[in-house]
Amino acid sequence: MICVFIEIRDGKIKKSSLETLAEARRRADELGWPAAAVLAGSGVEKFAPELFPHGASKVYVIDDPSLEHYAPQACAAALAEMTAMASPKAIFFAASALGRDLAPRLAARLGVGLASDCTGLSVRDGKLLYTRPVYAGKALLTLEANGSPAMATLRPNVFPLLSEPAAAQGEIASVPVQIDPASVKARVIEKVSEDGAEIDVSEADIIVAGGRGLKGPENFTLLKELAALLPKAAVGASRSAVDSGWIGHQHQVGQTGKTVSPNLYMAFGVSGAIQHLAGMSSSKYIVAVNKDPEAPIFRVADYGIVGDLFEVIPALKAALIKLFSDS
């Protein structure tokens, strides 16, 4: 069985968890295994029915008041108990902020290895193999787990949801856990919103990113306006723009920023340094707008416009407004 940890944020199942579940389902089918989902928290059983169509044939529910606020030690302990009960062959998480925090803890607790931030899974000779970018995307590493369960985190926005609903319903199993409150030495006490940005770059379908070519902080408004015209779009930035103080670090894409895989990445006045490409080259479509026809970003872009972004952005906005008002 492959078990997928399901993350609930702000009263909703995270899309990246559903993507992970879908991929688990596809690989489990190949191996002739079941795929299951795990919900851990307080009052989370109500989410179980939503998971069957996304590929879970069974949902394990760990309901404990100590899990109401994210406390990694408590959560890892609970998941270890679930693992002992259900003996999954593999456990997957989305490589979200929470998944990247929790999966290493659980892996160490279970004494097994972890394949982080995978972008590809495959089955060879009846074994699961995990592929992930290393060295800023300059190489691809394929890994095989030695112990059991195998563990992996899967990069958000890379794996598609199931094209057809898997099942309308399935089994729900409750997992009783014992958590020693004294073992919990860190706890989230508050969530602080940074700049009111609604969509994070790591979760956006579309990213409009700006670099030093934007010339100043005020011009990020141009990108915000462009993003506002597009569905589920966020504003990204190069490190140069962030280091110049034009926009907050949470918008930085790249090796020392966030890794993103949107459907569309539009880069305005970004040269395309290797560290920037490391964060965005798994985007489905890349568009580059740059004055310099030799800019390295054009080497990865599906579509490019050689020109002044201060002329191109208004023209794009006009074309989008026309498109959406016509349709």
């Binding site: 290895g113 030495k185 860190a186 020392t256 020109g307």
Partner: protein
């Protein structure tokens, strides 16, 4: 407060990676190596905590003898001492194995440590596993991707980056924290620091001394293959004036790519 900062020697991110033919790994000859950038934020934070609250800053690296170059850098930045835990394997991409070595080194050699500071992840393997795994093995809390730390009396809080927000996490010591960009601006080494670092010995701890068994050191995960990624092909440059090019782009993205 006694702080151990874990630092790693990694290929400079600008460098071109050449893949070995005989085993899953890279050819190191001719590569330029640096301290992993996130570790610099960790090192800087340790120095600032010492400046504000006293204590000792120790830089620790797990690796081959050549890892001493990054330890020298830490000494030059101002670390009080530096220690190399000698592990002669090339990059294994195995976070658990490294975490086991770190946790044992802390238990056996640095039981005085109140805080372990790591970078958010090493650039290279990009695993982002060792801090959390080490914390779990020690039974300590871990707060990762930290951009701000507040020290109170008897308790501390750290802010960590999550999607679209920050989480404020309260934790007790001893603890493991891992640094994100934004935590601080790392200082440069001074000439005086560089000269002093040259003279400082770097003690070496062996894996035998840590009494790690073959089982402790057994790989938890195996690299099957390291390959070159398929290169993205350069696409189409849309010609014409900006208005025409923008109109055409919107048409393609909507009609053919169907991204909106």
């Amino acid at each position: 407060m006694n702080i151990s900062v874990l630092v790693k020697r990694v290929p400079d991110t600008e460098s071109r990676i050449r893949i070995r033919q005989d085993a899953p790994g890279i050819i190191e000859d001719g590569l330029n190596f640096v301290i992993s950038p996130y570790d610099e934020y960790a090192m800087e934070e340790a120095l600032r905590i010492r400046e504000a609250r006293g204590g000792l800053v120790r830089a620790v690296s797990i690796g081959r003898e050549d890892a001493s170059t990054v330890l020298k850098k830490c000494l030059a930045m101002g670390a009080d001492e530096a220690v190399l835990v000698r592990d002669d394997l090339p990059e294994t991409y195995d976070g658990l194995r490294t975490a086991r070595i770190v946790a044992r080194a802390v238990e056996k050699k640095f039981p005085d440590a109140d805080l372990l500071l790591f970078g958010r992840q090493s650039v290279g393997a990009d695993n982002a596993q060792v801090p959390g795994m080490t914390a779990e093995l020690l039974g300590w809390p871990h707060v990762g991707v930290v951009t701000k730390i507040e020290w109170g009396d008897g308790e501390a809080t750290a802010f960590r980056e999550i999607e679209g927000a920050l989480e404020k996490v309260r934790f007790s010591l001893p603890a493991v924290l891992s640094a994100q960009k934004g935590l601080n601006e790392p200082r440069y080494e001074t000439l005086k620091g560089i000269m002093a670092a040259k003279k400082k010995p770097i003690p070496v701890i062996t894996l035998e001394e840590l009494e790690l068994t073959a089982e402790d050191l057994a790989p938890s995960i195996t690299a099957v293959e390291l390959s070159a990624p398929s290169v993205r092909k350069a696409g189409t440059i849309l010609e014409g004036d900006p208005v025409e090019a923008a109109r055409r782009l919107v048409e393609i993205l909507h009609g053919e790519a169907k991204v909106f």
